[in-house]
């Protein structure tokens, strides 16, 4: 039995939204590992050669490096020596920044360049009508599946259940997965969804939104906090494939927008 989600009180739901957006903008504009600075993302496989033309990943004005899977971790080898690349930690390679991520045996290298695109973020105005609170129905079948997270990295996600959302005059069931975060104890309940704004104001491939625990065993679903996968900022990232069933037959005019080449209002 699927239970109906109810519309939440707007004052509570919007708390902190402006600050979150401002912090995210600052991070995009300034972090060396901002997706706006990403130039390549590729599975490491048996090893990657970086640098000169003809390399697996050519880096203009960069030195020559090799990224190699070795017992004890992925190693970066260059003219100045060899070092281990801890998972998730940014490593400088000349003017570039390299990050290794992903589970053991399936590591992925992301390369960030010295400059970044001028894209910014744009959002729909806060809308209380896109905030819902209610229960999470258990999954029909427990289990895990491999999906891409918003940063293009593959993770083993657990089926967490589904929510039934009253939206656009219909009740739409959305599948919820629990995506693990680095460190082991933390995870996020995520919904990757498509809606009628995709390609008409929002990113064509869909958007992520988190399901957040609220009081009394209920959850808050706030589409004002819907955000683009990193492939919206840089074609270096692969886009997650749409999750089965998560298509909303209505325009979700809330959360992050998208305009090709910039963040101006579409």
């Amino acid at each position: 039995m699927w239970l109906l989600l109810l519309t939440a009180r707007p004052a509570c739901a919007q708390a902190g939204l402006d600050q979150e957006r401002a912090e995210y903008r600052r991070w995009l504009a300034s972090s060396p590992t901002s997706p706006l600075a990403a130039v390549a993302q590729q599975p490491i496989g048996a090893g990657l050669r970086l640098g000169p033309a003809g390399a697996d990943l050519p880096l203009p004005d960069g030195g020559e490096y090799r990224v190699l899977p070795r017992p004890g971790g992925v190693r970066l080898e260059g003219a100045s020596g060899s070092r281990i690349m801890p998972r998730g930690a940014p490593i400088k390679a000349g003017d570039y920044t390299l990050v290794v991520d992903g589970p053991g045996g399936r590591e992925v290298l992301t390369v960030f360049g010295p400059s970044r695109s001028s894209k910014s973020t744009a959002y729909y105005g806060p809308s209380p009508s896109f905030v819902f609170v209610g229960p999470l129905a258990p999954p029909e079948r427990r289990g895990t599946s491999r999906v891409l997270g918003m940063d293009g990295i593959e993770v083993d996600a657990a089926e967490a259940g589904s929510v039934l959302v009253p939206i656009g005059g219909q009740r739409v069931r959305l599948r919820v997965l629990r995506l693990p975060l680095p460190g082991g104890e933390e995870s996020e309940l995520e919904i990757f969804f498509r809606d009628e704004t995709n390609g008409h104001g929002t990113y064509p491939a869909g958007r992520f939104v988190s399901l957040v625990p609220a009081a009394a065993g209920r959850y808050r679903l706030d589409f004002n906090r819907a955000r683009n996968p990193f492939c919206a900022y840089s074609s270096a990232y692969p886009c997650p494939a749409p999750w089965r069933g998560n298509a909303i037959p209505a325009a979700v005019t809330a959360g992050e927008r998208y305009a090709r080449g910039g963040g101006e209002a579409p």
Partner: protein, 395 residues
């Protein structure tokens, strides 16, 4: 004197607001409040701050005050607490940054210390807990007791304890927190008859429900000596550079015919900090009779200069007299690959006991720190017994 000049004089004598003092601080997680203490002392550019979980306090790396803005730096974790000081309250956010963007958790504090709230006897003791997540269920053990500042204790998994938790009790409900600037853990629960039920909060919004029953003494967690196994067909091999860059191997003269403890640790690992004094005591007590210890450090950056600096600091902090080698990075899978004779390596620290013939006799995963009380004492005694037993073996 005009009114204007009087006002100017008064302004001269208005002291800027200072955050110095004790603070009852809170992180507002989704659906719960994580309490901790802040102690700020000194004045002007010399302000210092400590972050406290009950009676356990750790220094923060810096305090900056500009006008009514207060920023507490937690450099080890690239994190900050930024707040506005208004009267007797601080309001702001805890912030750290990862590769997926900033993580923000609302922060607030008011002047004073958290009141001591002793726990009822029905809550104190050892509890066998089961955590239920979408990934499956897993065991934990809670050890709860009354300390000088009220309810305290720890939580233990198959791979070790989560450090010191300090808490508050209200009727049959309790909340135990551990916030060290990076890990954000809160255990909330209530007594229902002879069962505890609650939620473990990790970070802003990861919530894992659990149920616990009073421990009967039967084994609930895997034994620490059954988690990691070893190939015992030949001597245990290692070859890693020391802090001067010289490669040290198991075949050096200092290890020949000796009982050797191989301490697999990281300077970033709080439980390793708790194990270090115990290892130093063992070394001082048994070295003359033939005990050697070697520490294999798995560090954060993979940059040997930075990692060596961190390990030197660790060595000096605990006055460690045995060699520490830079073995790799703190990735459990990657670390395991550097020691292919170990199978199922899962935790820092792990202690490998070698007999006088260099072969593995025992692998003990994790370490029960002082927060585990009797279990800590029991472990220290067991480690001594094991060393004594190995020393008594003929070479």
């Amino acid at each position: 004197m005009t009114l204007a000049s009087l006002a100017a004089l008064t302004a001269l004598w208005t002291a800027p607001p200072s955050p110095a003092g004790s603070w009852r601080a809170v992180l507002d997680l989704e659906g719960a409040m994580l309490p901790f203490g802040l102690e700020i002392s000194g004045a002007a550019a010399g302000l210092r701050a400590r972050l406290c979980n009950g009676r356990r306090c750790e220094p923060l790396s810096g305090v900056t005050v500009r006008g009514d803005s207060v920023v507490l730096e937690i450099a080890d974790y690239a994190a900050t607490i930024s707040a506005r000081l208004e009267g007797d309250s601080l309001t702001g956010q805890y912030r750290n940054v990862g590769n997926r963007g900033p993580r923000l958790i609302p922060f607030r504090a008011s002047r004073g210390r958290w009141p001591t709230t002793p726990a009822p006897a029905a809550l104190v003791g050892r509890w066998d807990a089961t955590f239920f997540s979408d990934f499956g269920s897993s065991p934990r053990v809670f050890q709860l007791r009354n300390g000088p500042e009220g309810l305290e204790g720890t939580m233990i998994s198959n791979t070790g304890d989560y450090g010191h938790f300090a808490g508050r009790v209200s009727g049959d409900r309790f909340a135990l927190a551990h916030f060290d600037g990076s890990f954000v853990y809160l255990l909330t629960g209530a007594l229902h008859g002879d069962t505890l039920r609650g939620v473990f909060h990790a970070g802003l919004r990861t919530q894992t429900p659990w149920i616990a029953v009073r421990s009967t003494g039967a084994r609930h967690l895997k034994a620490p000596t059954e988690i990691t196994t070893a190939d015992t067909s030949g001597p245990f091999r290692f070859a890693f550079p020391d802090l001067q860059g010289r490669v040290v191997t198991q075949s050096e003269a200092r290890f020949q015919g000796k009982v050797v403890l191989v301490d697999i640790f990281g300077s970033w690992c709080p439980t390793c900090h708790e194990a270090a004094p115990a290892l130093v005591r063992l070394y001082r007590k048994y070295h003359a009779r033939g005990l050697e210890i070697v520490g294999l450090a798995y560090e954060v950056t993979g940059d040997s200069a930075i990692d060596a600096r961190q390990v030197r600091r660790y060595r000096d902090k605990f006055h460690i007299p045995f060699p520490l080698l830079l073995a790799g990075i703190n990735d459990t899978d990657a670390a395991g690959e550097t020691l292919p004779q170990l199978h199922g390596f899962t935790s820092f620290p792990t202690t490998v006991f070698l007999g006088r013939d260099g072969r593995v006799r025992l692998v003990r995963a994790g370490f029960y720190g002082p927060a585990t009380g009797a279990q800590h004492e029991h472990l220290l005694a067991a480690m001594e017994r094991e060393v004594e037993r190995l020393l008594a073996e003929k070479g």
